[in-house]
Amino acid sequence: MILNQYLAKAQGVGVHVELLSLSDLNRRLAALVGELKAKSVALPLIGWPEPLLRTVKTEVEKCGSATVSPRRRMDGGYEWNRPALGSANLGITFCGAFIAETGSLAFPSGPGLGTLASLLPETHLALSCAKDCRPDLGGYLAEFGADIPSRLTFVTGPSRTGDIEASMTTCVHGPGRVLHWIITGDFS
């Protein structure tokens, strides 16, 4: 059971990982946004399963938080509002592949996918569908074939350092807290 292997690995590297159903998501999101007093949430809008994005967007707005997303330009490309992104307290991303072998979340780059939302805010919440768990890194990389994105990033736990007296400390440059909520059941 690769999902169990993933759960053990991810917890081992300090990810707060949970399985929940879509109907629980509203309540949990409201609690998280409230707890963080998140005034601004970085939320890329591309690549999500529609029902999941709708729930997230509605709930974040209901909590009174502003959202920062890559904007569509006239030429069809995307751009971030850098200062607004820099001040977001929470980043919420959709993670379309996570790796059991290493406990990693995979984030390919692409127009509108906004992977910086998983890096700049102090808290990062990744949402996934249970079916998107992959056994290992090699197999996942092979899925791309020759068509590899410009930036392919794997996130395995919080930002951390042992550079002062080898004392493990989190939240160096990236998020100090990484949550991964895996949505069970079929909703797409």
Binding site: D163, C171, V172, H173
Partner: protein, 459 residues
């Protein structure tokens, strides 16, 4: 290039007296080696992985130029600009030109030993580019105006109290901050630099020939920032970092992450293939890759070829009794410890680093822990022979040892001399040996040879 003439003997004598540095080095080295042992124990096929690593690396070092050309072609096809630098000076000139062509005045940099080898910061600063180190350990030593003392843990020699004092002095933080508060202060200071920098500078843990990708590991997230936020990215990569295929990467990563810090994978793994593409909101407009040779092709053709297999994990440093006793600075080289004692003389010249092959007890721990089985003790011993033409006295001793009658006379003379103590004529000849140990006193009574003679006659 360095104005100091390295003198390991002198520097190590001073280093062993600095108990604070040695305590700090030992503490971290113990933790790192403990974490590695645990990670290896939890990987049942680790030996098979090591063998794979060594075999694959032998194929690569046997044909470095083929893989370098293949990498360069594929990276260019992905939109990167690839530059080849034959030595450190050429790499520095290229970096200065890239910055100047793009009007880059500020740069954020991830930890890179290859950049240290090139003295990239010094070169860019001289050309008017402000370079900020963003790996916490590198940031600390940049503030302190020091060099790294470990290839993975550059500030291993500094205590928390010293870092706190340094931050108070240089950044104006309150005195005696905890590790957490120091990290938070660095986050705040460096975040502004990341968002404002024109250029991001990194090394590369692996370069993948078949896709032209650069693979970068980091735990702090600074490498992700440096490869995503600035408009220009520069990666300085030694040609020894090239591996043939993307399919090789997870295996080398497994070896590196376990050996470097006892991890299965680092917190962040970035696979960078070309610059930002059409429509993307992130990534640099230009990606420049400097492929550095600096003696590597020459080393690949010589008897020490396997040193190019090194993954730069630092395990041999943390496990080395000499490194643990003297710390990294005593080596006065970019690469310290066992791998450095081989690589530094090969890159910079054996005449400059003649002492380093002797900075070794030949205990063999480095070869035991090396994730790609580099025969470090063999290389260190062979390098000693390259340095030392046997002195006349040793040649005479060898002749004596081969001639039974001379050997007998020599032993009789030696016993007499040792009974009287090493004085007079003998003292200068044995000075090297007696400087840190007492000459032995011969056992009382008859010699072994006399005893053996009576014993065999008696039976």
């Amino acid at each position: 290039m360095s104005p100091i003439v390295p003198n390991f003997r002198k520097a190590s004598r001073e280093a062993v007296r600095n108990s604070q540095v040695i305590a700090a080095v030992r503490k971290t080295a113990n933790l790192l080696s403990g974490m590695m042992a645990l990670a290896v124990a939890n990987t049942p096929d680790f030996e098979a992985l090591r063998n794979y690593g060594r075999t694959r690396k032998l194929e690569i070092s046997g044909d470095l130029e083929k893989y370098a050309q293949s990498f360069a072609a594929n990276a260019q096809a992905a939109g990167a600009v690839v530059h080849r630098a034959k030595d450190a000076a050429e790499a520095a000139r290229l970096a200065i030109k890239i910055a100047a062509d793009n009007g880059a005045k500020t740069a954020v940099k991830g930890k890179s030993m290859t950049a240290e080898e090139v003295e990239l910061n010094e070169a860019l600063e001289a050309a008017g580019v402000t370079v900020t180190e963003t790996d916490l350990g590198e940031f600390i030593i940049q503030l302190a105006n020091e060099k790294p003392s470990h290839i993975m843990a550059p500030a291993i020699h500094r205590s928390r109290a010293q870092v706190a004092e340094l931050f108070t002095d240089r950044l104006g933080t309150p005195p005696d901050l905890s590790v957490e508060a120091l990290v938070a202060a660095a986050r705040k200071e460096l975040r502004e630099k990341f968002l404002a920098a024109d250029m991001g500078i990194t090394g590369g843990n692996f370069a993948i020939a078949d896709t032209g990708a650069i693979v970068l590991l980091s735990n702090e997230g600074n490498i992700r920032m440096a490869t995503t936020l600035p408009r220009i990215q520069l990666a300085v990569v030694g040609i020894d970092k090239i591996i043939p295929e993307m399919a090789d990467m997870p295996k080398f990563l497994a070896l590196l992450a376990r050996s470097a810090a006892g991890q299965t994978i680092s917190s962040y793994l970035s696979i960078v293939t070309g610059p930002r593409r059409a429509g993307e909101e992130e990534g640099p407009e230009q990606l420049h890759i400097i492929l550095l040779d600096n003696g590597r092709s020459r080393i690949a053709k010589g008897p020490y070829r396997e040193i190019l297999h090194c993954l730069h994990c630092g395990a041999c440093l943390s496990h080395c009794p000499v490194y643990r006793a003297v710390g990294g600075h005593a080596y006065q080289a970019v690469y310290p410890g066992p791998m450095g004692s081989v690589l530094s003389p090969l890159i910079s010249g054996l005449e400059i680093y003649a002492d380093l092959p002797n900075a070794c007890t030949l205990c063999g721990r480095c070869a035991e822990v090396c994730p790609v089985c580099v025969p470090l003790p063999d290389y260190l011993r062979d390098l000693r022979s390259d340095v030392n033409k046997p002195p006349l006295m040793m040649k005479m001793a060898a002749f004596g040892a081969h001639t039974p009658s001379l050997y007998r006379l020599g032993m009789i003379a030696m016993r007499q001399m040792l009974k009287k103590g090493v004085k007079g004529l003998m003292a200068p000849a044995l000075k090297e040996w007696t400087v840190c140990r007492e000459p032995p006193e011969p056992q009382a009574g008859e010699s072994f040879r006399d005893w053996w003679k009576t014993r065999s006659h008696g039976q």
